[in-house]
């Protein structure tokens, strides 16, 4: 196999007509002018407004619910409680990037006998006005028996801990144990012999780490508007990453045929993994059913979104790494305990599969625990579970480099995995570009420029993420003017309408302006997985490429009929159909459709596998104020193997966005619970995401190591950029002031405490 040398400058590549160009995105004008229709903009006539009653307790038995006063309030149409949801079986349902038992999914949507976290939905109402619904909710009387909350992952694992569920028996490496526990499962990946590996080591570093739950923080809160019509047909408008996921989950939870559920996705104001699972949809449907089939809209407040929709896990992590005097990693022993929230399903599995996979290590032992605690059920968040695990791993790697006196990039180059190496969790690496990102980092101006100044430091950290492929469907219809209406089932979070159309245009050799892409509802296109796992430009793009090939075949057939010649004498190139004697452009064929059989419509699906993992190297410079503990990010460079950047702007945007979220996770974001398990910072004032003033321009360097298993070399790009920032920032803080922080977020208070521990006289209080 001849490998393409990675290029740093996509603009100079001329192999493609459209791919790699920074074209305007289709949705830009609608979004900047406010014309785009989001969930909150959906207003069917006769609309009612819903509101959810949420538990003020983290752990409580629900003894009784009295809804009579709420029902009696003028303007109220319906009140529902957990008793209104059908009882469902225990089978496993797919939530996109995570999976859960159907019963847990149902219990998360409305609590049955127990409230399991602060914000857990207890009941819901529909009313003619939002404020009436709000008042009605306050009239519902719930009698609770308050139980001790389980808030700490390590305490939750103790045999004597209070239990959230009496029916969770640890899945211990595949064997069900017999005693109920908060530990839902224990997974293990083992390779080689770690103890022997540590005996070969000249330097061994081990640390413990703790991290706090963080939220995706998308700007648009969850919403759903639903109509249950008298014949049992259900229509749902909502903001989701996957309309087909909403359809199947709603059908499962409500125990109705999947064909009765019609999901119309609106534009989406961010998801980052948090909009795969459903929360409000079944409530809106049931309320509509009980409200004489009037449509019902539910919209979360920011407080509800933070308290009751999936954040990602807080964790307790131990990392022990050994290296020999030459800098070769000899052994890795990793222990991960992840908070799943109230129901099993933390991303501990994906963390274990990605946290150290970019390194070649013969002896690895990874133990992972999925643990329920009285906090919201976790959901996917960009490279689920990996940033916090990599924070731990890359901090220890940094200390190994320090002890060995090795340059952090040289050390990583020595240990970098490449094609054919085995990952600790089993799979063998396909072609990956980790080494290329390290080389690009080494020669980058950022790394080459010395950092001067007191209290300033530089950190390096790397990351790996497997990405995903999955199912996608697209269709194309030729319009009377020869343009193509392109229908996709993929929700467009980040410009994928455009990148899908670009791949189709490239395949067809036509102008992008001649394609009009649209995200369709679940009745208008076939099954398409959600926009998650960095899959859409890869998989839906692949479907678009297949669609283009089929369209070429179709227009060749039409031309053969028109010219009355055998189809194998018709050729297609650069947007033209031709034979020895004839020639038509792709668009021209639209004039002859009726003569050649009528309307032209083609569809294609993809389910190929072959997704290419991403690897990345980040460099950050910080300045620490040792008097206040504040960390300022001075410069940030993220170098990523992006496969092929179909639209470089979008790829850079993904990298910059991921880095900013990672910086937030590093420095200030984190759930703050009191001892009773009440979330005290369910707002964007005290849940501190970075503002524009807190981050410099993030430089994204695109390294293109083509994915040989995709027609255009695409790899997923959206998730891996969030992986290294907490580690990179921690390493930079260490370089700046000589302290190692082992807990996230590295808030000013934590930095100060570390400074005081190092220099007690620095405390002035």
């Amino acid at each position: 196999m001849t490998e393409k040398t990675p290029t740093l400058d996509t603009a100079s590549e001329s192999k493609y007509r459209i791919i790699g160009k920074r074209v305007d995105r289709y949705d830009a004008a609608d979004k900047v002018t406010g014309q785009a229709v989001y969930g909150a903009d959906v207003h069917p006539s006769n609309l009612l407004y819903g509101k959810v009653l949420r538990s003020p307790h983290a752990h409580a038995r629900i003894l009784s619910i009295d809804t009579s006063a709420a029902e009696a309030l003028e303007g109220v149409h319906a009140v529902i409680t957990g008793a209104d949801l059908p009882s469902v079986s225990d089978r496993i349902v797919d939530l996109g990037e995570t999976a859960t038992s159907l019963r847990y999914q149902s219990d998360n949507i409305l609590a049955k006998d127990k409230a399991l976290y602060f914000g857990h939905a207890i009941a819901a109402v529909s009313a003619t006005q939002p404020y009436i619904a709000e008042e009605a909710v306050s009239l519902i009387k719930v009698e609770y028996e308050i139980l001790p909350p389980v808030l700490d992952v390590r305490k939750a694992m103790r045999p004597d801990s209070t239990l959230l569920h009496d029916d969770i028996f640890t899945d211990e490496l595949g064997q069900k144990s017999t005693q109920a526990s908060n530990v839902a499962s224990h997974i293990r990946h083992a390779q080689g012999d770690v103890e022997a590996g540590f005996r070969q080591a000249d330097v061994i570093i081990e640390h413990e780490f703790e991290t706090t739950m963080v939220h995706q923080g998308y700007i648009e809160p969850h919403n759903a508007t639903a109509i249950y019509n008298p014949s049992g047909q259900i229509t749902i408008w909502c903001s989701t990453q996957g309309s087909f996921g909403v359809r199947s989950q709603t059908s499962d939870v409500l125990d109705v045929p999947i064909s009765s559920v019609h999901v119309i996705p609106t534009e989406i104001g961010g998801g980052f993994g948090g909009k795969n699972s459903i929360y409000l949809e079944p409530l809106a449907v049931l309320l509509s059913k009980k409200s004489n089939n009037r449509p019902v809209k539910l919209t979360m407040t920011r407080a509800e979104s933070l308290a009751a929709t999936g954040p990602t896990s807080g964790s307790y992590i131990r990392v022990k790494l050994g290296a020999d005097a030459n800098g070769h990693l000899t052994a890795a022993k990793l222990y991960l305990a992840y908070e799943a929230g109230a129901f099993p399903g933390s991303p501990v599995g994906s963390a274990a599969g990605s946290m150290i996979s970019e390194y070649r290590i013969s002896n690895v032992l990874i133990d992972g625990y999925d643990v329920v605690v009285n906090k919201p059920r976790t959901e996917a968040y960009r490279a689920p579970g990996t940033s916090n695990a990599v924070f731990a791993v890359e901090t220890v790697v940094d200390e190994l480099c320090e002890k060995l006196g090795m340059d952090p990039i040289a050390f990583r180059l020595l240990n970098a995995a490449k094609e054919g190496d085995r990952r600790p969790d089993g799979p063998t690496h396909p072609r990956i570009g980790f080494i290329e990102t390290l080389q690009a980092a080494q020669s980058h101006d950022h790394y080459q420029t010395p950092l001067d100044g007191k209290y300033r430091g530089r950190g390096v950290a790397c990351g790996y993420w497997g990405n995903w492929g999955g199912r996608s469907s697209v269709s194309a219809s030729m319009n009377a003017d020869g343009t193509i209406s392109l229908i996709t089932g993929s929700i467009d979070l980040s410009g994928t309408r455009t990148t899908t159309a670009m791949q189709l245009a490239e395949t067809l050799g036509i102008d992008l302006e001649d394609i009009v892409p649209q995200v369709a509802d679940t009745n208008s296109v076939s099954n398409t997985e959600g926009t998650y796992g960095s899959r859409t430009t890869f998989a839906t793009g692949w479907a678009a490429h297949k669609l283009g090939c089929k369209l070429i075949d179709a227009v060749k057939e039409r031309a053969a009929l028109l010219w009355d010649i055998p189809v194998d004498t018709v050729d297609y190139e650069d947007g033209c159909i031709f034979s020895k004697a004839n020639r038509l452009t792709f668009k021209d064929i639209s004039k002859y459709l009726d003569e050649t059989g009528g309307p032209l419509m083609v569809s294609a699906t993809s389910f190929e596998g072959g997704h290419g993992p991403s690897a990345t190297t980040h460099i950050v410079d910080v300045e620490v104020d040792p008097d206040t503990g504040k960390v300022d990010i001075l410069r940030y460079t993220a170098i990523q193997d992006v496969g092929k950047a179909i639209h470089p702007d979008f790829v850079e945007g993904q990298i910059q966005g991921g880095v900013v979220q990672g910086i937030g996770w590093a420095l200030n974001e984190g759930y703050f619970y009191n001892d009773e398990g009440q979330l005290l910072n369910a707002n964007f004032l005290d849940y501190r995401m970075p503002t524009f003033l807190d981050v410099p321009m993030i430089e994204a360097v695109l390294v293109e190591v083509s994915n040989p298993r995709h027609p255009y070399g695409v790899r997923g790009v959206g998730e891996v950029p969030i992986v290294p920032p907490p580690a990179a920032v921690a390493n930079a803080i260490h370089d700046a002031i000589g302290v190692r922080l082992t807990a996230l977020p590295m808030s000013p208070a934590r930095v100060l405490e570390a400074v005081w521990e190092q220099t007690p006289s620095a405390y002035l209080g």
């Binding site: 206040t628 004032l685 503002t691 807190d694 208070a749 005081w756 209080g765």
Partner: protein, 297 residues
């Protein structure tokens, strides 16, 4: 959200009559940047909101050499920092006024609202205190004056009677050798609430630059913003040196009675009270020296 009736008195008299009739059911609305948020979250549920922005006396903004500075309680922040003479004479006040929210918030937010809201973290209060600001309060009984440090009596609680409201703030003209500064610590660079804050003012002796007068106030480290008299007094008659500044800073930290909450810890806040006091004094000194320099020309 609780429903309410909106009233807009045009005169002091109309406002105080209405307030004395409705007392606890009524809430004053100035810029609304605190009140509307509180109403929306149902943490306050007034039946009436009384918009005082249309009363002429509350919109006064003036300076003269004898009377000093007068700022009506309903004057929005942007008008204060946009007033060139005032901005030039009281940069230590502008420090605070320009910190509140962002441009949009400053278009509405008022000193009266910031002070009456009585947040321990309110940014203008320590600054007003170190400027020796006096507040005129009007009620059925007439007008009385209270020093700003006496207005807040607890988190969200002020010393006004139900029929009273803030009319205006008065600050003496700055003496020669006067300098002041206010700053806060927040984890991010904007859009945040002070974890701790400090204001300092000084008058330096034109002859030997020793301290003739000093005031230090700290915020977000006690149930109310605090005037730390001992910290200011420790500097009187002294030259400003690292040692004297440090001593004052540690006195400020000692006066702090912070709590641990979502925004900070006790030790972090005590420490910050000292760090910020030190920084406030250094900057106030710089401004005081500029004032001396200006006067000697």
């Amino acid at each position: 959200m609780h429903s309410f009736t909106y009233v807009r008195p045009q005169s002091l008299e109309e406002a105080s009559t209405f307030l004395s009739e409705h007392r606890e059911q009524a809430r004053i609305l100035a810029g609304g940047t605190d009140l509307l948020v509180q109403i929306q979250s149902s943490s306050v549920t007034p039946d009436y909101i009384v918009d005082i922005k249309h009363i002429p006396e509350l919109n006064v903004l003036s300076f003269d050499e004898t009377g000093g500075l007068r700022i009506g309680a309903a004057v929005p922040c942007f008008k204060i920092w946009n007033h060139h003479e005032i901005a030039h004479l009281y940069p230590g006040l502008i420090d605070a006024v320009q910190l509140i929210g962002g441009t949009q918030i400053q278009g509405r937010a008022t000193l009266g609202g910031n002070v009456a809201n009585a947040s321990p973290a309110a940014d203008t209060i320590p600054s007003l205190i170190v400027h020796g600001a006096i507040c005129d309060v009007i009620g059925r009984q007439g007008i009385r004056s209270i020093a700003v440090q006496d207005i807040c009596i607890g988190p969200g609680q002020n010393a006004l009677a139900p029929d009273e409201f803030l009319l205006r703030f008065q600050i003496k003209p700055p003496s020669i050798g006067f300098g002041a500064h206010y700053l806060r610590f927040i984890p991010r660079n904007e859009m945040d609430i002070a974890v701790a804050s400090a204001g300092a003012s000084l008058v330096l002796n034109p002859d030997d630059q020793t301290v003739q007068y000093a005031r230090i106030a700290i915020g977000a480290v006690a149930p109310t913003p605090l005037l730390v008299i001992a910290a200011g007094e420790s500097l009187i008659g002294q030259p400003l040196t690292n040692e004297s500044i440090d001593r004052a800073a540690r006195l400020a930290a000692q006066a702090a009675q912070p709590i641990t909450d979502i925004r900070g810890t006790i030790s972090q806040r005590k420490h910050l009270a000292a760090v910020l006091t030190r920084r406030a004094l250094v900057k106030a000194q710089e401004r005081a020296l500029q004032s001396l320099k200006g006067a000697s020309h």
